[in-house]
Symmetry: C2
Subunit: 283 residues, 2 copies
């Protein structure tokens, strides 16, 4: 471990994104390689299998966009499930809604949670001590198999890229099982990769979701530390595309604390589908 | 110059974006440092003063978004001015409209044009041989000073960051002069930097433009090779925010050849203003 700052990079298909900083922790957990970097620009940051996941000052770009279209759109939001999300940011955004009564986080790797609490505590913030939060160290695929039918109002998949421990979170049987444990009026949300750096996975994810759910739409935005900086989240529902329209009684309570998200931003993000993706989804 | 591929990076505030490739040309022109890289992922690419400008396979993300809201929205589009734009991509997109009768490119550095024609010929494509195109190797600031009042239907500023030769293209007297040479029903368009990596310049540019033009709105999108990947273009007009609404008789002729832009994408991009920028612009 160097004491002076160096470049730490994520490499992907002949492109690299680096942050200047110092590695302050490095371990191999049972599931993945975990690095914590103290970066010059964005505070402490987390890498899993050499992919940037989150940084203290660069995480709302991702978490707000994954959470609020779902939480502002569902009929009810009493019971929320997060699969993955070990850094705590998704839980933090969900728990800003007083109507959330129970939040289950199902994270496969306890070390991600422990290291996030130790090195990036601001990302989870008060969520970690919220009595509504239940942390389960388990495989998300197994969790949805055994969960009660029609139990959750919201299911959020906040996993890493589908070539590591998150592999099982991008396929038809997983989405189908999620549909069954979702209540009527509920919303399913997942990060759905970059339309540029992971174009094939992005398109395939949406197409498979459209085989399972009645309404499925991708939302586009920017997460500068992820490959290409261009990112997407995809939302699904059975009774209507209710994720498109935030309920104002919910959004008005959270908008002042948001960095990126607003009802207007969200409307933009759902329309900002690039022409080449729109064509491929139509074919 | 190395014969095997290496990483070539743009560094900005403790963040770097690198492409793997080979430097195939490097010179210092009268105005700037110019590098051409043969990249693995995006074909040949151009760096000015160590900043990525364009690559053969990664340039529509920028050029389409700068051009089409202006060309689809203005009352007439007979006379078009591009300031900068030496790689030819903005000219190419403009010349797709048969109603464009005269296109002036005013580029300060002849070497950018010559090297783009030699190493990235696909970006300009047939534009370089189009009889409607007039290339002027001059300073854009001087050009707008001497141009005839109410002459142009469209003025597009396609310059680099405002700390090199493009410095004079981001201030009040320049915008004011552009307003005077713009016809009624015309549209002024400029790239307006990243809301993340160049937040202050981005906000300042919009605020200054709002002192000059009656209607000014930023459009947001993604250009993966620019700092943070999150980019903006800002459009201005005097009679109405006519850049918001593409004329269908024009858009229908170009949409099939667009990679990113569509009327829907554009509507999204104008709404996708992040909450923190919206707050700062309102203050």
């Amino acid at each position: 471990m160097s004491q002076s700052n160096e470049w730490i990079d994520e490499n992907h298909l002949g492109v690299r994104y680096g942050l200047k900083g110092k590695i302050i922790h490095h371990e191999k957990s049972k599931f993945q390689d975990i690095i914590i970097v103290e970066t010059e620009r964005y505070g402490n940051a987390l890498l899993l299998n050499n992919c940037w996941m989150a940084a203290e000052k660069l995480e709302k770009h991702y978490h707000e966009c994954l959470v609020h279209p779902a939480l502002c759109g569902a009929k009810e939001i009493s019971n929320v499930l997060i699969i993955g999300g070990g850094d705590g940011g998704t839980a933090r955004e969900c728990l800003r809604y007083s109507k959330v009564e129970r939040l289950d986080i199902v994270e496969i790797d306890s070390r991600v949670i422990e290291l996030a609490q130790q090195f990036l505590p601001k990302i989870g913030g008060t969520a970690w001590n919220d009595p509504r939060l239940n942390v389960h160290i388990e495989d998300g695929v197994g969790w949805v198999k055994k969960a009660q039918e029609l139990f959750y109002d919201i299911i959020i998949v906040d996993g890493s890229d589908p070539d590591g421990p998150a592999e099982g979170l991008f396929n038809k049987s997983f989405f189908d099982r999620c549909k069954h444990i979702l209540k009527p009026g509920g919303i399913f949300a997942t990060q759905s990769e970059s339309p540029e750096a992971f174009k094939e996975i992005h398109i395939e994810t949406i197409k498979i979701m459209r085989e399972i759910f009645a309404y499925v739409d991708p939302l586009y935005g920017c997460v500068p530390m992820y490959p290409s900086g261009w990112w997407s989240w995809t939302f699904a529902a059975m009774d209507s595309p209710r994720y498109l329209t935030p309920k104002s009684e919910r959004s008005s309570n959270i908008i002042d604390q948001c960095k990126i998200w607003s009802p207007r931003w969200q409307q933009g993000g759902f329309n900002a589908i690039p022409a080449f993706i729109e064509r491929e989804l139509a074919s």
